[in-house]
């Protein structure tokens, strides 16, 4: 038999050195996530805290103030907080049930051929830029509301809610459908064999079994709604008032940042970062609450 080239000794030394170097490189790459997160959180919180720590603005006034007039050094974001909360809850109330029911339909009820056609189409729509939903909202929903409800202008809380609800539909449907499909067949068979109807089986056995995936779908969908900026700018009207009805114009937190960042400087710019902190906390609270809900259901 012919001999292999030198397979012992020094030849392996190089390999071990390479092995050590590569594993260090991989570790460093993995740490970039951590570094990025620290940088982002660090910068946003640093800049956002400057007005309160250095310039002596009151954080309470910032949260509870109703006037946002940067030229007069008035920075109150209560209207935006209320706007964000209303818009998110509204979108949740409409988008989640419709999305979940659609997902259940596609996974459990729809004829195979129908589902095979619709599911990928919905998945595709989860990928189209959210700006386009805003364009559609401005072109169709806003004039529609204006005419039907006889408003001076159609840009309103209701328009924002509708656009956000529509936008989160594909995300919720796609993720929830996957989760429901992953429930083992034996669960369904077991329930049906005990005399439960198909609908009972779906709501009492299948959906509860898919709960963590369904929850993930909701979190993703809501996350998309709460963080959405550009589509909302187009249909919100952006007035700086506390919305009191569905037909009021509004300015959520995200749009405030996007609209003013371009020309803001000094305290004004730092206040936009402070707005970012509030948005950040919002998302943390939301994730926390949803995690709690799903943990509670688990018991």
């Amino acid at each position: 038999m012919s001999a292999l080239p030198e397979k012992m000794g020094n030849a392996n030394k190089k390999k071990y050195i390479l092995e050590g170097l590569s594993s260090k490189l991989f570790q460093f790459c993995a740490l970039i996530s951590v570094i990025s997160l620290l940088l982002i959180v660090g910068f946003v919180f640093y800049k956002g805290s400057l007005p309160f720590v250095v310039d002596g603005y009151s954080f309470i006034d910032f949260l509870t103030g109703v006037d946002w007039v940067p030229s007069e050094e008035k920075f109150g974001i209560l209207p935006m907080i209320v706007a964000s909360v209303y818009a998110t809850i509204g979108a949740l109330i409409i988008g989640v049930p419709v999305g979940l029911f659609t997902a259940i339909f596609l996974a459990e009820i729809a004829p195979k051929r129908v589902a095979k056609f619709i599911s990928p189409a919905v998945q595709l729509l989860a990928g189209i830029p959210s700006v386009l939903y805003g364009v559609f909202g401005l072109a169709i929903i806003v004039p529609f509301l204006q005419n039907v409800l006889n408003l001076p202008r159609g840009q309103s809380l209701l328009a924002v809610i509708l656009v956000l609800a529509i936008m989160m539909l594909p995300t919720i449907v796609t993720v929830a459908e996957t989760a429901i499909r992953a429930v083992p067949k034996t669960y369904r068979e077991g329930s049906l064999a005990l005399g439960a109807s198909q609908i009972e089986t779906i709501f009492k056995v299948v959906v509860p079994a898919a709960k963590s995936g369904v929850m993930a779908a909701i979190v993703l969908g809501v996350g998309r709604a709460i963080g959405e900026t550009m589509a909302v700018i187009l249909v919100a009207g952006n007035s700086l008032i506390i919305p009191t009805s569905l037909t009021d114009s509004l300015r959520p937190l995200t749009t405030n940042i996007a609209l003013e960042m371009g020309y803001a400087f000094g305290s004004h710019q730092n206040m936009l970062f402070a707005t970012g902190i509030v948005l950040f906390s919002f998302i943390l609270i939301l994730n926390f609450v949803l995690a709690k809900i799903s943990a509670k259901g688990e018991k």
């Binding site: 038999m1 012919s2 001999a3 292999l4 080239p5 397979k7 012992m8 000794g9 030849a11 392996n12 390999k15 071990y16």
Partner: protein, 274 residues
């Protein structure tokens, strides 16, 4: 691991079964006082064993008795599991393999065939040439030669010589396992470890692999784990019986199957448990 524990274990196993040293035979693997832990749980207790060159040594015993774990210490495959801790000595070719730390060299010298054929999703040729290539061999002629020799060595050349460039995963289970053996042979190892190589095969394929193992004996030292006692009896020169992480008996195969020293060995080979 602390040494008191080791001593305790030694005390528990009692005296090490004496190993007969044939004067012509040379022990290629010497294991002394090998203890292995998965985290807190001890899986091997003070194993000592000498394995002779150019012989087939079979490791038998019920599932979970530690025979596969022991086999995997011989080429340090247990290193892949984070929680494993080992003490004791394994000397292969006069080198203590847990001290030299050149795992690459060890594994080129000690090949392995697994329970289920685990060919890579590549052609037959690329599978067999994989090891030598990774050692830096690029010469096409030499590779061709090694591939042919290895496939002949694994008694499968005639079956696959016309389809070397096709996917290895298109072959039958038995053929795949013999390609795995060829892949191991291609590294020209001194020792080949086999971890229940026929447990996933039909009887005819099993027979072919067994015949192959008998033929390979003249070139390689083979250590084989098997569930099948007839197989151990048919192909091995020596047999070690493992129970609960200990070597109960290690003897000439014909002796162990005709008149075992230990009652537990007898119970096992006569099918009273396991």
């Amino acid at each position: 691991m602390n040494s008191i524990e080791t001593k305790l274990n030694k005390a528990r196993t009692g005296k090490i079964t004496p190993i007969k040293q044939d004067s012509e035979e040379k022990a290629i693997i010497s294991v002394r006082d090998l203890n292995l832990f998965y985290g807190e749980k001890q899986a091997l207790f003070s194993v000592s064993m000498d394995i002779q060159e150019k012989e087939v040594t079979a490791l038998i015993g019920p599932s979970g008795c530690g025979k596969s774990t022991f086999l995997r210490t011989l080429n340090r495959m247990n290193d892949l599991i984070d929680s494993v801790q080992i003490n004791g000595d394994i000397v292969i070719d006069n080198e203590n393999i847990y001290q030299t730390n050149d795992v690459i060299k060890l594994r080129t010298k000690v090949g392995m065939v697994f329970q289920k054929a685990n060919l890579f999703p590549m052609s037959i040729y690329d599978n067999v040439a994989y090891g030598p290539r990774m050692q830096g061999l690029k010469n096409k002629k030499e590779l061709d030669k090694i591939v042919e020799e290895s496939l002949r060595g694994a008694a499968i050349w005639d079956e696959v010589k016309d389809r070397l460039k096709t996917s290895a995963l298109g072959l039958s289970g038995g053929q795949q396992q013999r390609i795995c053996i060829a892949r191991a042979i291609a590294m020209k190892p001194e020792i080949i470890l086999m971890d229940e190589p026929t447990s996933a095969l039909d009887p005819i394929s099993t027979l072919k692999v067994e015949e192959l193992i008998e033929k390979m004996k003249k070139d390689f030292t083979i250590v084989i784990v098997t569930h099948n006692m007839q197989q151990a009896a048919r192909i091995s020169d020596k047999t070690a019986f493992f129970l609960n992480g200990e070597v109960i008996e290690y003897e000439q195969t014909d002796k162990i199957f005709s008149m075992p020293n230990d009652q537990r060995t007898e119970d096992y080979i006569t099918g009273r448990f396991g």
